[in-house]
Symmetry: C2
Subunit: 187 residues, 2 copies
Amino acid sequence: MSPRVYLAGPDVFFADPELWVQTKKTICDLHGIVGVSPLDELPDEPAQWSTFPFWRKIAHRNEAHIRSCQALIANLTPFRGPSADVGTVYEVGFARALGLKVFGYATTTEPFLARTLKGAAAQMQPDGSWRDGEGLLVEQFGLFDNLMIEGAIIGSGGALITGDADRWTDLTLFERCVAAAAKVLVA
Amino acid sequence: MSPRVYLAGPDVFFADPELWVQTKKTICDLHGIVGVSPLDELPDEPAQWSTFPFWRKIAHRNEAHIRSCQALIANLTPFRGPSADVGTVYEVGFARALGLKVFGYATTTEPFLARTLKGAAAQMQPDGSWRDGEGLLVEQFGLFDNLMIEGAIIGSGGALITGDADRWTDLTLFERCVAAAAKVLVA
């Protein structure tokens, strides 16, 4: 049976998310993987969810989808700030705790430190560290985003693939991620 | 035995994080809870970690700490953008997948939508939805942050406590969160 991979990312906020997700799923198919999207219906949705507000159904459905997968591929392109979309990062943490392999990609190679310093009114301290305008330390490990994310990727045996590409329309980095996942998952 | 609660938040970036964490732990003690901090040493750190770079040790140590706890209390105060710190959100997702009870607090009551619209160059669409300057949909469910976070809190039987207080020095909201956690966890 083909391995199931959850497709996490702010892609659900795109202008035509259904079409976009279908394109991503087709790429997965070509690599022998079943792409599972947050937009997919959940088979056997628990009856008690019928009383839940829509947003809560989405949250629980996404969690159920992740539980049904062997890996997760996250679009970690910075989203409305220096870091990835928090919904995506939540799902990375969720997947990691369950032992899934975690893969991530982003359409920029600009490091986390450089992205954070923009607009953070940061000042370099005598010891070379940076603090933002509120005096809070800026993480500075030479990583692509917060260390928990890269810890999950490396710890799970996944891969992080970044490149300078069109911010929200590029699919080549995603496909490289799918190929990396297929290499690990497809027997 | 007192329940163990992981104290997640960007508090580790404060000017004197050790002192701050000690204060939080003292508040936990007063409510019959053991506060576990990302800064705590890990007993029985696996020998193979000795070869890991420091940031990776932090990531794996935090995960191990969360696995040793029954609940997590997250400082969800918006951090360098409209949402909570991504490291914290990662840990919320991680804890949720393991079945921990999730509590959160923030020192602002400003809704997620209002925070996101600031600086997102968003435009209202004919159907009343908002799209940011890149055409991406702005989440609009009347929640405090991304729906995955609130889904975890409500789904786990935890609580979200927000109030207008001093951004990084207030401890009253944290203490209300600890009290709520103690009520659920302490027999």
